[in-house]
């Protein structure tokens, strides 16, 4: 895949032999993508690494669709795609740089995911639209949508949730990254969005709470979703610093600063884990 292809394009193919290892590789690649910039959306990659690894494990290449609602999360998708050989290394090296088509905040034009929103709270509507389209066309396709907990503050998410349940869009599955992080701080200090699962259930969804860093649990939940008569949401409880011990405890989850010395330590820590020297 060049810097323009998408996971649902016919002929796209990959396999994931070891999802847990892929999650660590996503973290390592995200560190290497952010390091030249000195700061960036590393926290989003750290909180979603297992979800993205699970997505690429369950998603059927060349068939199922991937929607990324919070465009800041494309870093994790690019990292996975590069690791799986479906995105050029050169494209990844351009991440966030002047003149590069691989922008740090994802857009309509970003590669890999089939649809990326940079303005928050809009992706679930697109995912519902794709699921309706597939039903009308009688396509055997699932649509997976990555959504973040901060986005639940935007009303449009709930408009889409209500519609998807009304239309029983069972082939639509949401991975909600509940990392309790938004620009101004922890989500729960700004707006009470709990009980998240009960809200989605009340809206007519199959909702399950799980440890978003347990990649096997996410894979099991993703695999089991999509067979009932309701859309499904996986509420993945995560942290924006998970899997990178060297980060300072007060790292700003939305926009992590990664000076060269810290980047080097982060890279060494993740390389050691990939080599099996630490877990």
């Amino acid at each position: 895949m060049s810097a323009t292809g998408h996971v649902c394009d016919p002929g796209t193919y990959w396999t994931v032999p070891d999802p847990a290892r892929l999650a660590t590789a996503i973290r390592l690649r995200a560190v290497r993508m952010v390091a030249p910039l000195g700061f960036g959306y590393l926290g989003q990659a750290l909180s979603s690494a297992e979800q993205v690894a699970a997505l690429f494990t369950v998603l059927r290449p060349g068939r199922d669709r991937l929607v990324c609602s919070p465009g800041h999360y494309v870093i994790a998708i690019f990292a996975a795609a590069a690791e799986l050989g479906i995105l050029d290394e050169e494209a990844v090296r351009g991440y966030g740089q002047d003149g590069s088509p691989v922008e740090a905040i994802g857009t309509e034009r970003s590669p890999v995911a089939d649809y990326v929103c940079g303005s928050l709270g809009q992706g679930l509507s697109a995912a519902a639209g794709f699921a309706l389209s597939d039903r009308l066309r009688k396509h055997d396709r699932r649509t997976f949508a990555m959504v973040s907990d901060g986005e639940l503050e935007e009303g449009q998410v709930w408009e889409a949730a209500m519609l998807a349940a009304h239309h029983r869009l069972s082939r639509l599955t949401v991975l909600l990254d509940a990392n309790n992080s938004q620009v101004d701080g922890p989500v729960d200090t700004i707006t009470t969005i709990e009980p998240i699962a009960a809200k989605w259930a009340a809206f007519g969804w199959d909702a399950v709470d799980l440890d978003g860093h347990d990649v096997d649990a996410v894979i099991r939940a993703l695999t089991g979703a999509g067979d009932g008569d309701k859309p499904s949401v996986l509420i993945n409880r995560t942290s924006t610093t998970h899997g990178l011990h060297c980060l300072p405890p007060d790292a700003n989850g939305h926009f992590i600063k990664l000076p060269p010395e810290l980047a080097a330590r982060a890279e060494a820590e993740l390389l050691a884990r990939l080599a099996g020297r630490d877990d």
């Binding site: 002047d98 922008e103 009303g155 938004q182 620009v183 707006t191």
Partner: protein, 340 residues
Amino acid sequence: MTELKEPPYRTVLKPYGQALVELAGRREAVVCLTGDLTRQCEIDLFAGAFPERFIHVGMAEANMMGIAGALARDGFIPFVHTFGVFATRRPLDQIINAIAFPGLKVRIMGFMPGVSSPGGPSHQAIDDVALMRALPGMTVLDVADAVEARQVPAAIVDVDGPVYVRLKRGEIPVMFGDDHRLRLDRADVLARGDDGDDVALLASGMMLAPALAAATLLRSHGVSVSVVNVPVIKPLDAATVLDVARAARVVVTAENHTIVGGLGSAVAEALAEAGLGRPLRRIGLPDTFAEGALTAAYLFGKYGLSTQAIADAAWTALGRRGGAPAAGIVPAEADEYSPV
């Protein structure tokens, strides 16, 4: 005339945020709303000083505008804060129905204008002036520097109707002397040729700095230039616009915004309505979305929001032969600002 500094300009932090706190100390009706961009909009200062009048609405712009409208109906003066792109696009219908139509005193503060955000099309407010200018009764500002930003809260607090203000985020250059006054009813003629001008250059917001640099460059090559700072795009000071345009052969506008619907359009309307025919060149995003990048400077250069682009536009509009003189870049340290 107003005192002007020379580039590189010294920069300061949070001039607006400090001024809002000072205003709120005098005016109990002032309340502050944020849509999850508190530090970025300089209102961490307000939150610390007046926590009881600070309302964190979360990432919910439509809801924020509805709440602000109701607060204004009850006599409060809400200052609403987020990035300009989220302040105008997402809640447009709510601004229209809950604020503009009833003519309420809500002050909408949109930070990070135009391509000063390297965050890509979803984060770049390239059409906010056009959207707000289209609303009946809306006053629209795009201020140039810290001296003006500091005066914004007091200048707009009592405007009888809604106000939209664009403000640069982060390090704010100091371009004017301390005695400069931000006036809502008058554009500032900053420079004027001795006996008639070749070019009338009108700029707003972040484009004032490159406009001044382009004027200096053009003057050194025998082109006389008048420069007008237009911080208030609506209602436009048409009298001043017509005055400088009448004395010039060509008119050039410069804005950190699409050329459709903003300062350039407002000037074009004023010229046409007065029956004043002058060749007009509009510097701004040429009817295109921009993109994400690492630096804003790269985007200003790429999309022609630069000293060179302004000089080129004036040069060719005057029919001068050969290329326009080359603009030099004034180097700036970390705490300074120079236009591209």
